[in-house]
Symmetry: C2
């Protein structure tokens, strides 16, 4: 009854080497979060479907993994009541009846739920990070998985732009620590609102943004064509053209936009939201300048990321030396907790894409060479007596923080040596009767070939040799 | 449309304080595993149900959380074909049709699946640890959750008792590091087989063990009664009585059992398995003595733990100063991977119960006082200019490993002070125009009240004050 083992498509096993690399990424990110005073929380893998449904749009609802009610989920179900006509059933309704829980789809909605549920216990501003897997029933493809980790960091309960600055600083520190050169792109949702306002189509902000986003790829004439298809008039398109034609550096662009938002565009319309967005943008860029980030920061008016969700700053991080989508992104939201009954609570957060960061580090060969899951020393096993002889030596080394393994079987030395080599264990210690009789221990550095003999009680000297 | 937020019963949110404590436990365990050369792996939360079903008994199958197939799970289902009679449906078969995946129930079966699936890439003996949540649709109650973490450490591909020794040593080191006094109880499955052999009921090993296990609670007469109810003859019970009446220390007990297993019991029956078990037991206790564990180790003939699974050593760890079930346990298994097509692969492993260890540490007040999720310094926010003034100071401290927060809003100082106090932040730094003008920074130790002023550029002196 042997089965050929496999795992569900879109999921992954992580090997020791992959875990060492992933932990390196998570530890680096975590240590930066910690130096900024962010605290870790965890939420359950399963949430009530009522918490999850309707938060990610219709498409998201379809991608939720649903969990059958425990016990006998189908017992007592009146199938006839779900029959629509003939052999057709209302399977959506049936599914809701038999599955009341789902796997979390992201870390944002559970965070909002957490904040509302525990608001009495929290100190605001509440600064948390969360590193956990999420699940989406997306069609698996290269680089897209059905189970993947998110690393989210959010501060909620303050609208201060100092928090945006912190996020920008954390981005800078994380990627500097990882050795990845990045560009931090920043936009503000209120500017996008402003574009809709002054072109006279405040309800077409999404259409405008989607079109603008393609500027680099398809060019201005095609973008204008797309806006026309999306229902914008030629007059409105003329206003957008004025925005897209803005020249100069950050200060000049802001100045020109201020003119446009103040009624200076061809439409003559004014946008308070746009002006407020400019104010925020200037303040944030001022703070960033005062802080002195090492990575380049750029205003990108086409940046939208989950438009209907963000209300202020929008962030996105691109790797400069590796072609891949954004490796980090986020923004300011003003009403995330409203759906759970806590309105008017502003927050800002970003999410680091661990899988893509992994791919970038691997592609650029930037993982530290010292990353290893192997112990420092393998004690060879010559026979039962000599293995017993090294037990306390191995123990003493471990007590001093050296990771050590005793090969469990008295196999041929060639086999034990091969094991050390395959695992990349740097030191081999071979000891037999002679060493036991003289209370000595041998160590060989397998890369340099250097070999030394020590008194079994001289742990300090052994440590010095192993750490050199 | 606000909902009152909640989470599924039997699941938990972990707050920053709980996370700090849990990470302390996991980090301690992990660092011990690492010094013994064990490597971390992770497997997906979802496994194919074909991997999970039938591995945990009928009861276990019922406790699996099943995941509805993605897309429209119920589309095209012919409900009539599941009708048994009248309104009764074969919901087990229906459930299998609409749910092909389940959440992992433990880390052992996924580990066996992993080893078989990846055997071409692994070096044997393969020593792995795994710290991940598991899910069981058990009825939630105090201390029993539907989502909980397991910390498993296993070595597979060798039958050497040096591996049992390693596990015993790791138990000793983990609990010594955590400051929990424990008793390590050891048994061997082959002795239990031997009991069945010499009492003439080799197929009643489970019944015998279940009864013996109650000796402490119900006394010998009741145990004998139970064995009779379970079908043992009076002659067989007499043999068990001989075993349970064994006196003396470890060596004497082993000697007496050797006599019994060699045909010296009232039945005159002999057990090769029992004799082999004694040999293993003696060797393991000899190794443990050579190693010199700091915790007491005891032979416990009633210890069984998942009897049909273990084939050699069986381990269980009890906290000595706190009344709670076992906090760690495991044993040797010889055919775990057989079900997935890789027979004759011996392994041994133990699992640390993180939730119970948490309860013990909390109950004994043994969590380190220094465990905190709070940053070291809070920079108060007097106004925009003074906040901007401390940005680079906070940045310099963070670069030197000090965690620092700038309060995001220029709120009343009382509010900022309260925030520092509630979060347990040890140092407060209040700086206004005067400090900015003189390029100085103030720090106050909130517990001692000591206050010092430093040049904003003298990071070394600031560090010395904050670390003192």
């Amino acid at each position: 009854m042997a089965q050929k083992p496999s795992i569900p498509k879109g999921t992954r096993d992580f090997s020791p080497v992959e875990m060492a690399r992933r932990n390196y990424i998570f530890d680096t990110i975590r240590s930066v979060f910690t130096t900024y005073g962010y605290s870790q929380i965890e939420t359950p893998a399963m949430e009530n479907l009522s918490t999850l449904l309707g938060k990610y749009g219709d498409e998201g609802d379809k991608l939720l993994f649903r969990i059958l009610n425990s016990g006998d989920a189908f017992s007592g179900i009146d199938y006839e009541s779900f029959r629509i006509e003939g052999d057709s059933f209302n399977s959506k309704a049936l599914s809701l009846q038999v599955a009341e829980k789902g796997l979390r789809y992201d870390l944002t909605v559970p965070f909002a739920r957490y904040v509302v549920q525990h608001r009495g216990e929290l100190s605001f501003p509440f600064k948390r990070y969360q590193i956990q897997p999420v699940w989406r029933a997306d069609r698996p493809q290269k680089g897209r998985y059905r189970e993947f980790y998110q690393c989210d960091v959010d501060a909620i309960g303050s609208s201060s732009l100092l928090l945006e600055l912190e996020l920008a600083e954390m981005v800078d520190r994380v990627f500097a620590a990882l050795g990845i050169r990045v560009l931090l792109k920043i936009n503000n949702r209120k500017l996008l609102t402003g574009f809709g306002d002054i072109c006279g189509f405040p309800d077409k902000v999404t259409d405008i943004t989607v079109a603008i986003d393609k500027l680099d790829k398809i060019g201005l004439p095609a973008v204008e064509e797309e806006m026309a298809e999306r229902g914008l008039t030629q007059e409105a398109i003329a206003v957008i053209r004025e925005i897209l034609s803005l020249q100069g550096g950050f200060a000049e662009k802001v100045q020109s936009m201020r003119t446009l938002f103040s009624g200076g565009s061809s439409s003559g319309l004014r946008s308070e939201a746009g002006l407020k967005g400019l104010e925020e943008l200037e303040e944030l860029f001022g703070l960033i300048e005062a802080s002195g980030l090492s990575c380049p920061v750029e205003l990108d008016l086409s940046l939208a990321r989950g438009l209907n969700y963000y209300t202020g700053a929008i962030f996105e991080v691109k790797a400069l030396d590796f072609a891949i989508g954004s490796i980090c992104g986020g923004g300011r939201y003003d009403n995330l907790t409203g759906i759970f009954g806590l309105p008017d609570t502003s927050g800002v957060g970003i999410s680091f894409g661990a899988d893509r960061i992994y791919d970038v580090l691997l592609g650029l060969d930037k993982f530290p060479e010292t990353l290893s899951d192997a112990p420092t020393v393998l004690f060879a096993n010559m026979d039962a007596a000599s293995a017993r002889y090294v037990i306390p030596v191995a123990g003493a080394l471990r007590s001093r923080g050296i990771s050590a393994e005793i090969y469990p079987d008295s196999s041929k030395l060639k086999k034990q040596f091969d094991y050390a080599e395959r695992r990349g264990i740097p030191f081999l210690s071979i000891n037999g009767e002679t060493e036991a009789a003289s209370r000595t221990v041998n160590f060989k550095n397998l890369s340099s070939g250097e070999q030394r003999s020590f008194s079994a009680d001289d742990i300090d000297s052994i440590l010095a040799f192993l750490r050199a």
